[in-house]
Symmetry: C2
Subunit: 463 residues, 2 copies
């Protein structure tokens, strides 16, 4: 180990190797559910340093855990408690390298912060479309490793859809340069797809090239009461029929979300005089002016029978609506511990899923308090359950709640992780919900690309 640290000190500058107390912040995950230990935290400055570190660790049989903004919700970036692993923190590789307006692409290092990509694109009159709550701290590599989604997936897709090229340091320290800015390239297997959502288990992403889009100049936003989830699905398809891809976000909120906001975030505005059973935060965007778009949006809402929609009359109103939506997780946190689920089913199956899941949960855990909200348009809801006890003791019910909800998810052809990935949190659940053939294919690929199981071991797939 002294050998290894000495050799590392010849690769990295003094600020590039942290040990002991200085590593504490890297050892706890975003939800504070995992607390790891480490041999060292390494902070390379460029791809060549990453490659040299990986080569060295591979030679010493030392496991490597890549870490970006440390915002994983599944413990994917936290090492285990053995203390045998190094964390490779990409935070110093944080540059936006290039914006090509003629090609509508942006290239950045893996440690660049998502908000910085948004800003660099905006400065060039373009849109970098990925957007979610943690954009100010989440970094490119982690966002790619978990194929992050967020608020604009309906219109622009998730990180996978936005990615044209990657540079990756492989498990043996070789650099694969697949950093192409091409929208069409059929020259064999699309290797980058393996590293996206690969949770660092096949290699370490060091750079990426992304699609940019025309920057919308107009937006219009509304909170729309709907009778029930089927009403929300119908409204979505109706708006898409009338407005096409201008429908950018379509977020479902149950009545409980509004009650929670009123109780725990009383400082926020209250857009509804009477709380609707279900509601939707819908946003459309386009070129042209807000006024023109607002007129079209208002008309479309009326044509869809949504005459009680609360339409934002200014950007500041719209920002308030979004602040409400984004405060739901915060309100939950203030209430206490809930069992959180990040499930997906086909959008068309959501009405039935919600009905069945509520009935099954109430039967299994009477009084369960369900907070359902999220990206209905993408077939993805955050489905969280509070019990009477809102301390850490609530976690004892997690396995039972998972079992009840995931059985229904599975029956509707859904997923136990639509957005947040597998990490440590769902690693041992995955085999129940994916076929043996599928798991075997994953293990085959893992073994082929990382035969010594040194890349983020214990995440996604069991050892």
């Amino acid at each position: 180990m002294t050998d290894l640290l000495h050799a590392l000190s010849e690769i990295l500058d003094p600020a590039g190797i942290l040990t002991g107390a200085a590593t504490e912040g890297y050892m706890i995950d975003g939800r504070r559910r995992y607390h790891g230990r480490n041999l060292a935290v390494l902070r390379p400055r460029n791809t060549e340093e990453v490659a040299a570190i990986v080569k060295l660790c591979a030679a010493h049989g030392v496991p490597m855990v890549p870490q970006g903004g440390n915002t994983s919700l599944c413990g994917a970036a936290t090492p285990d408690e053995s203390g045998h692993a190094v964390v490779i923190a990409l935070e110093r590789m944080n540059r936006v390298l290039d914006v090509d307006v003629g090609n509508n692409t942006l290239t950045a290092e893996a440690g660049a912060i998502i908000a910085d990509l948004q800003n660099a694109a905006r400065d060039a009159d373009r849109l970098f479309a990925a957007d979610w709550g943690a954009k100010g701290s989440a970094r490119v590599g982690g966002a790619l490793g978990t194929n992050a989604g967020g608020l604009n997936v309906l219109r622009y897709g998730n990180m996978r859809d936005l990615t044209l090229g990657l540079e990756v340091v492989l498990a043996d320290g070789r650099i694969w340069n697949g950093l192409r800015g091409l929208r069409k390239d059929n020259t064999g297997y699309d290797l980058k797809q393996l590293f996206i959502a690969g949770e660092g288990s096949l290699g370490i992403i060091t750079r990426a090239t992304f699609k940019l889009f025309p920057l919308p100049t107009a937006q219009a936003t509304a909170l729309v009461p709907v009778a029930n989830p089927q009403g929300a699905v119908d409204l979505l398809r109706g708006l898409q029929h009338r407005l096409g891809d201008r429908v950018t976000s379509f977020e479902l909120l149950s009545r409980r979300c509004w009650q929670l906001l009123a109780q725990y975030c009383p400082e926020l505005p209250k857009p509804f005089a009477e709380l609707p059973e279900w509601s939707v935060l819908a946003e459309v965007s386009d070129g042209g002016t807000d006024d023109d778009l607002l007129a079209r949006f208002g008309e479309a809402l009326l044509d869809e029978g949504a005459d009680d929609a609360v339409i934002a009359t200014s950007r500041s109103d719209a920002a308030d609506f979004w602040a409400l939506r984004e405060a739901v997780p915060e309100a939950q946190k203030r209430k206490g511990v809930s069992i959180k689920q990040d499930i997906g089913v086909p959008t068309s199956a959501f009405p039935q899923f919600l009905q069945e899941a509520e009935a099954a949960l109430q039967a299994a855990l009477p009084g369960a308090d369900i907070i359902a909200f999220g990206h209905l348009g993408d077939g993805n809801l955050h489905y969280n359950v509070f019990l009477d006890d809102v301390t850490n003791a609530a976690y004892q019910h997690e396995p039972r709640i998972n079992e009840v909800v995931y059985e229904i998810v599975q029956r509707h052809g859904g997923t136990i992780s639509a957005e947040h990935g597998i990490g440590q949190l769902k690693r041992d659940l995955l085999p129940q919900y994916r076929s043996e053939v599928e798991l075997d294919l994953m293990r085959t690929i893992k073994h082929a690309l990382d035969p010594h199981n040194l890349m983020n071991p214990g995440k996604l797939l069991a050892g």
Copy 2:
């Protein structure tokens, strides 16, 4: 072999096994450059039959060549001349299985014809967005195996972007059911991505679930003269700035295309009084009415300084414009043999690429007659070269032309196959234009998933 054929006859009905003269049509590729031989052509009726065939062939060490509509432009679906392989033709698995309007998805068998998917979606007031010349004969499996592109990629992406789930028979005959209709699913490696553009070399796709889109009700189409390719790039970005994703197609045509059409397809209309040096066929689509969209499109063209645009005033005019664009390959065929290239570079690099490639080709082969056209918005042009001799003898110059053009493509970070794939045609070229690391990764994956090299061997990667 008699053993194998006997065993196959217990799996398949009599119409499911063709031998001898009945197999002739399956043995020649679309461009008539390859002529293969076979042990038999097998025509399974369902996934279980495919699985049983594969298991049996794997046990006998017999190579398998999947074939859909036999429209490959690179010989990817034609067996070699050894006669040792079976062709597995998916043509009887040709059903559209489901259209889910609430989920905006369509599921079809691998042998379903692309136009049938378009029609099934349209009947449900939805758009299946993949579209290209061979849509009436190309089938789902082949389109996926080569990640086909076509005329709508700019707006809707290629087959990869349209695909949510796959069912695949693996090299050992196991069935992987990844037929999920989810827009978000982060449960490990996205295995389907390996089979898309995998050219049948890792398994045989049997079913697929695709995204559908709102069916546009309005379209507007124009032929727009531009001074040069940079003018075309600027026009594209300008129109996208003003009209966003309404810009659905953006096809570049050089003056030589129009001359060729006038000479070899004189029956077609002539939209330009004077032939422009370069021109663009641009189409926008949206909800609402043609008249409204036409007004916006016309305004946007004027704002971009395109006051000499020829705007289609009716759907029939628009169809004429498209007939012209789609007749360019036919006009070329009538002229004779050309050396065809399907290259891509970043859209921003096209102006320079076109200048450099023309200069280099004229230097290498004086009098070379270059026909450049295609999907500028996707960074993909068909770049074809006629020499004085338009018989098969022209192919003797193919290596030299490739060498000249691909060197420039490579320098601009491009691809030697943007759309048509590798197949047999470019298999031995690929190693010159992709890094050893990249090829090694591909071989590693091929070996991991098809250790006995029985799935479409000799395509994409050398034995």
